[in-house]
Each structure stands twice: as C-alpha cells, then as structure tokens.
C-alpha cells in the first residue's frame, strides 16, 4: 500500500491532483472514477485510495461539458406546499433512482412568467429531460420546450395539446364524474368552494366539467365562493360557514381541493350538521391527511404517484415506443367516503 501524502486543500482539487498522487495519467483516473473502460485492479485500487485520501470530488461541470451529457432532469411545478407535488416528486425520484438521472426541482408559484424564467434557467443547464406541470405555458416557454431537443413530459393534466408527451388525468372529466355521482345520489342544490388563482388551470377545468354535467342534468350551481392564500383548512371552515349562512338551502358542497373540504367537514361536524344526510360534501385529490379525519371526505384520487412514476419512465426511456405526442391518461377513482349518501 503506497503512502499518499495528505496536503491541506487550498484550491479545488482536480483530476490532476489525483493523477499525481497516484502516479497515473488523468485519463486513467477518470476511467477509474467513472468505472468505464479497462483498468487493472492494482491501478484502480491506488487511484481510489488516492481520491479518497485527498477527498476529491469530481467536477461534473467540466465532465458534462466534455461529454455533452448531463444526468439532470428538470422538474417544474407550481408549489411545494400543496401536498400534491411532493407526492409526484416521490414518484419521480423513486423511478429515477436507478437510472443515474437526478431530478432538480423548480417552483413557479403558479405564475406563468416565473415558469418561463425557471424553465429558461433550467434549460441553461442542459438537462436530459423536462417534467413540467400543466399544459398551459407562455408562448416563449412553449417555444423553448419545443426547441430543447430533449424529452418533455407535461404532467397532471391531459385536457389540451402537449408539446411532446403528457401524463395525467382529465380534470374536466373528473369534474363531470363527481357531478354525476352527486346528482345520482339525489343532491340538487349544489354550491362550489374553490381557489381563486387564475392560473390554477386544473381547478378551473374541474369546475368547468362539473358545471357541464350539472347543466346536462338541468341543474346549475346555486352558490360559489373563492379564496386565495391562508390556511386552507381554516379557509374551508370559514367559507363553508359563510356559504351556509347565505344559502341555507344547499344540500351539497363541492370543494376544489381536499384541504378546504376537510375544513368544511370539520365545521359541519362541530355544528352538528347531518353529513351526508342533510348536506353532502366532496373534495378532490385523495390526500393522505383525510384518513385521519373523524369521517372520510368523498374525494377523487389524482393518481399522483403514478403520474410521477410514468413521467420519469418516459424521460428515462424506459417506456415502449414513446412516439412524440404520447398521451397517457390515468383514470382517477371516485372515493365516496362517508360524505355522499349511499
């Protein structure tokens, strides 16, 4: 075992430092560290030993530039505090795990401009692929995606025209489906409570589908209320109480997400309103949180884990013939819970 001197590192270490410490060429060191090409056992040992002793960390910037390969996947989502997206991320990370690819997250806060600039920033690192939430982007963002020359997967939503591939559910259809279930259960005087964010296209589409189905049954929303910001749970409670005070005859409340739905449910429970007899409730997303509630809110699973997984598989090239324009539609399941009468 050769003695390897341990200098105090001043400037960043390079391959040359390792090569000098181990007495071989930089190229051989590079080969050892990347496990590529033939290197004899002895040399490999010595190089690894030297690298470890020096505390060498390869410079991927240089490596990526030279090899024209970057193991990063850009993931662009509207928010991290939404519960939904961390779960999608989990699906992505797990699938990417053993591909050598690594996800890098960018957050847009539901702002198209911010999305555009985040995308620009990420593309400037030349990732191997892009996973981006939604189908609606600024023209410039669309152009960038189109010209990037890498696989693009738009996730969550499939109601629209993808740039390349898309994986998600039809929110319009999800809204319809919920409306149909509600009508079938005999509810007639229906109110809606949701977010006000103009750029939450998916919530908008759900509402559109919902109203469409109502209209086909000769019904219309009797009341609606929107919010933005703040604790969703608290907002759900407040809005529910406000709406019921204003429109006491409502027999069903449809919420744009489970958080505010849960707030509404808690409010009803504490006020002694009979759920689902007197008043039915439903949300959207199937968040895990609901399992802990005293009574299970009706909801619709958004297939978040699957979406992440499939998107990652497409990027990793693990899926059969991913012709451009591939659209994977997942089917959300209605979970009736205890808040729609049977």
């Amino acid at each position: 075992m050769a003695k390897i001197p341990l200098p105090a590192p001043r400037r960043m270490l390079t391959l040359r430092d390792v090569s000098e410490a181990s007495g071989v060429s930089e190229m051989t060191v590079s080969r050892v560290l990347r496990n590529r090409g033939d290197v004899s056992g002895g040399t490999r040992e010595r190089v690894l030993e030297a690298a470890r002793a020096l505390g060498y960390v390869p410079n991927k910037i240089a490596g990526a530039l030279a090899s024209q390969r970057v193991n990063l996947v850009a993931v662009i989502i509207p928010s991290l505090s939404n519960m939904v997206f961390p779960e999608v991320m989990t699906g992505i990370s797990d699938t990417l795990e053993d591909t050598g690819l690594q996800p890098v997250v960018g957050v847009t806060n539901y702002s198209p401009e911010r999305e555009e600039s985040v995308l620009y920033e990420m593309l400037s690192w030349r990732p191997s692929g892009v996973i981006i939430a939604g189908l609606e982007h600024t023209p410039a963002a669309r152009a960038m995606l189109q010209n990037a020359g890498i696989p693009i997967v738009e996730i969550m939503d499939i109601d629209g025209t993808p740039v390349d591939a898309a994986v998600g559910i039809s929110h319009r259809r999800a809204g319809r489906q919920m409306a149909e279930a509600i009508i079938a259960a005999g509810y007639r005087r229906i109110g809606f409570l949701g977010t006000m964010m103009p750029h939450d296209h998916r919530a908008r589409k759900r509402l559109a589908g919902f109203e469409e189905a109502l209209a086909e049954a000769g019904l219309a929303l009797e009341d609606r209320e929107f919010y933005s910001g703040g604790s969703a749970l608290l907002k759900g409670r407040e809005m529910t109480e406000a709406m019921l005070a204003r429109s006491p005859d409502l027999d069903f409340l449809y919420y744009s997400n489970d958080m505010i739905g849960a707030g509404g449910l808690l409010s009803c429970l504490s006020k002694g309103i009979a759920v689902p007899g007197r008043l039915g409730l439903a949300g959207f997303n199937g968040v895990e949180l609901l399992d802990g509630l005293p009574c299970r809110l009706a909801t619709m699973d958004a297939c978040r884990l699957d979406i992440g997984q499939i998107a990652a598989e497409i990027i990793a090239g693990k899926r059969a013939h991913q012709g451009l324009g591939e659209v994977v539609e997942l089917m959300p399941k209605l979970q009736p819970g205890d808040t729609i009468r049977g």
Copy 2:
C-alpha cells in the same frame, strides 16, 4: 432592422450561432447576454434580436466552467412531505430571489448514507454554498463540508458543533420549555407520542430536553409510544386511543409533532374527553394546519421561515461579519392554544 434567418435548430445553439447571425464576435454576444462590459446600443439590439429569434439559451455549464462561478446553492433536507421543509424552502427562495443565486434541493429521507451521497452529488456541481439540515452527518459528509471551501450553513438545530455556521433553535431547550409549561399548569402524569425514526435527531433532542425537565421536577414519563410511516393524522388518532386505553390515568400527552398531535386532538374531541381539563395536549412546530382545527393545539413555533431566511442571507454574504462558527439561535415561542389549562 436586419433580417435574421430562422433555421430549424438541429444541434444545440451556441454563442457562435448568435454571433454569426448578428455579425459580431462571440465575446460581444457574451457581453450583451450577461450585461457586462461596454457594448454600443445598436450592437446590443442586434444581438438580443438575433438571440431571441434563434431561441438561444446560454449554456451555463460552459459558462460556469470558464468563469469558475456557479450561481447554485445546495439545500439538503430530510423530506418534502413534512410541511416544515417547504416552509424553510420558501424562506430560502425568497431571500435568494434577488441575489442571482438559485437553490437546488436534495432530499435525504432521513438517511445519513443518502445524505452523504446527495451531498457528494451536489458538491460535484460546485455550488456557491450549502444549506443542510441538522448537525449530525457521517464523517465523510463532514469532511466534504469542511473541505468544500464554500459557506456551509447547518439549519434547524443548534445543539451540537457546526462545521461552519448554524441557524436554528435548541430542540433540547424547546423540549424543556414545554415540560416546564406543562408542569406549571399542574399536569403530572405525562405520556409521550412520537416518531421512531432513529435519525430524526431533533425529535430525539426535544424528548431528551423534555425528560430532563420532568426529572428535575421529580417526574418521569408514564408512558410512551412510537410510530413510523403512514398518515401522521391517523397515526396520532390511533396511538392516542391505544395509549389512553393502556394508561387511562394520564393527564397530558406530548406529541413529537403537530400532525400526530392534531390527530390526537381530533380523537379526544370526538370521544368527548375534556380538553384541557381532564387531559392536556401539546405538539411541536406551529403548522398552519392547526389554525383550521376546532380547537387550537398547544405548540411551539420552530421559526422555520426565519431559519430559511437567515441561512440564505449568510450564504449570500448579506450578513455582517459571518466569522466561521457563527451560530444563530432563534427562540421558539410557546403557543399555549386551547389545550393546556390556563
């Protein structure tokens, strides 16, 4: 306005493409795009026009290699689904916003080995700084941090020895403080419910501080229960019911986080247990979620936003004399809510 041809992009565009399209040298294009050095108005226009028309996206990999500057900050946290970390992220992003620096997140799932490999991966991109949760790392990870030659900020916790700077609260002290408040309120038969993760050092330290303070008052935990995985809200409910069945004489339950605490609270409410008279409850974190509950759980704010903000300021060099070893201790506030008797 010169006509600029619009070719179908095949290979990636480079500075050379823009320089040819606009009739100036690559260097001048580079100057325009980075807004650095003197360039005449006319040239600037022409270059920007060409870049836009071509859809040129700069290659930061090459730029970073040449300039030896990378505008990335590595942020390494245990989990995204914990509520706590997205909020820290918000603090970081907001502060970094106008510094040209950009956070890149890595998630460790509370595994030290994973932390080590995530750190290695991130350092190989030569970031301008590292923000990493906790003070406990593998020896190799500590060595990497020490040798990185960039600012390192360890966040959330200050009970230990930081590599460089640290920003957080003393979880030990937080535990003590809660115990003291509980004892002062007259509770005596106390149970603990928490996570089992061996690597959640902060939860462990809170419990240690808590028990210390109990011991000083001549008390000890009467019962304890641990969980891992699953919906925290549901677990909180189940564990609470199990513990109360087993130890019906308890008069206080201390939870290691607000999520399971909320589950416990909901359980007590639905069972008609008098809170805080018969049974007191407290959690930890001050999550926004609690605002929506029918009754406010006692908790302790972990200063998450501030932690993110200050950490980012240190990395950005916005703070006065950040001598190595700087420790910023934030003071969490006890929020008694409605579940500790007054």
